[in-house]
Amino acid sequence: MTLALDLTDRVLHSTEDLSEFWRDLRHNNPVHWLDPTDGGPGFWVLTTYEHVSAVYRDTKHFTSERGNVMDALRAGGDSAAKRMLSLTDGPRHAGIRSILMKTFSKRGVEQVGTRIRSVARSLVESALAAGECDFAKDVAAPIPLMAICDLLGVPEEDRWRIFDLTSSMVASETPDHTQKDAWRNKNEVLFYFANMAEGRRVEPRDDIVSLLTAAQIENAGLTEDEIIFNCYSLILGGGETTRMSIGGAVLALIQNPSQWQALKSGAVSIDSAVEEVLRWTTPSMHMARTALSDVEIGGKLIRAGDIVTLWNVSANRDETVFDSPDTFDLARTPNKHVTLGGGSHFCLGAHLARLEINAVLTALRDMVSGMELAGEPRRIYSNFLGGVCHVPVSLR
């Protein structure tokens, strides 16, 4: 087993099974300094559950304000720094988060709950009628897209265009996607929300964009940058991640027939199954922070300014926390995975994600008697998001 794998490589995560690599790091080098082959800035690679969850909670020594993913930090910092909720710390973060929590609280997301459940049922019904479908494309993609667009106020006719753009901003379905393509798509999405925010200022509606344009923190409105970057963040966080979890859930259920039976028979609850799906799929493979001052972790000295990457995919398979971590076990308890992060930046959309996955698992349990793969599943290419974009299945 070599430690020379370059984690910045976006194709690597899609084509290779890295389980052995992560296990080796967790056991032999849990706080590992990596110098990528491109000659750019190196960074720390943290792989154990203990270290990853500790850094999430430690806002004294680690900041999100320069960026929270490897690529942006290595490029010198994120241009949305301090203007996007996830890239803001301290009182400003608390202020904006509390505005958005009205929509994303457990009670808040129920405003789209009925619709999500009914759409999940009708999509599964169509898939059953057709006999075969691409579950990732036909069921996993439209549900989170519909939910986040309903909440943001993006009209029906624009949604699939937005989907095409957002699904190729931080990941892609082809290995030869360029930086320019990503920049272009990101710019179109920002432009879209800049125009939308301008419209909502004049004519507010009952949606998040209007909520953000009208919001006040300490008697001042949010800046234009904050509004646009937060919409960008919500459409990406809301649309892309749960799509990976839902597609991955179906694949895992097909590959583990006993778990499908347990779900079908009611031997495990949907709530418990949702948590294992989240742990198993871990769509945000890593998150990143910057050290604010010198700090020691696992006997290694991390210097102020160092980039620290937190590998959720590895922490969620840490054998010191999860029994038989490489077993897909819907009844797993406790199941305190780090899929949704931790600390003050814990995923804003956690309730929405759980609601969406719950709706799909419920529809499968209630309506489907058997599932088989009908083709080769395909994964997206990215060093940040991981999961499947194509899962051909036959349902009956």
Binding site: K180, W183, K186, N187, L190, F191, A194, T223, F229
Partner: protein, 166 residues
Amino acid sequence: MTQDIERSLRDHASVGSAAVTVEDDRVVAFVVPAAESLSLRELRTALADTPDEFVVLPALPLAGDGTPDWAELSRSRGDLRRRRQPYVAPRNDMERYLAGLWEDLLGVEDIGADDDFFTLGGHSLLAVRIRMRLQRDHGVTVPPEVLFENSVLHEQAAVVESMREA
């Protein structure tokens, strides 16, 4: 003189903090905007005494005793100068229009025809602002890749002009 300018800068609503010094016989004002954008053109008009040059920064670097870190500020000025191209005055209406727009968005004065948007700190959201202004002021919807591929001012002006005529 530098202190007077520093005081009047600090009193201005659009300035968050400021430090003024003399470097290479030039009065240099380092300013941190109070809000997300700062028009140096408007600032210049509002001041009684003006510096020879401005350097806009996201935050003022401080030394241990809380005073401005002049060495770090000098490095920021050097860095900005290295990113500039030798000045070539904008030559037509579209170049002058874009130069003014870039100056406001980037917080840099005297944008020339050979300056590069990304080298001077342009990023995705600033590119969005250019696109929104072009839509409003010139009625053209410029695709993002056009700005990405034509990041030098005179190239950008030429391609926007050709789209406007088409």
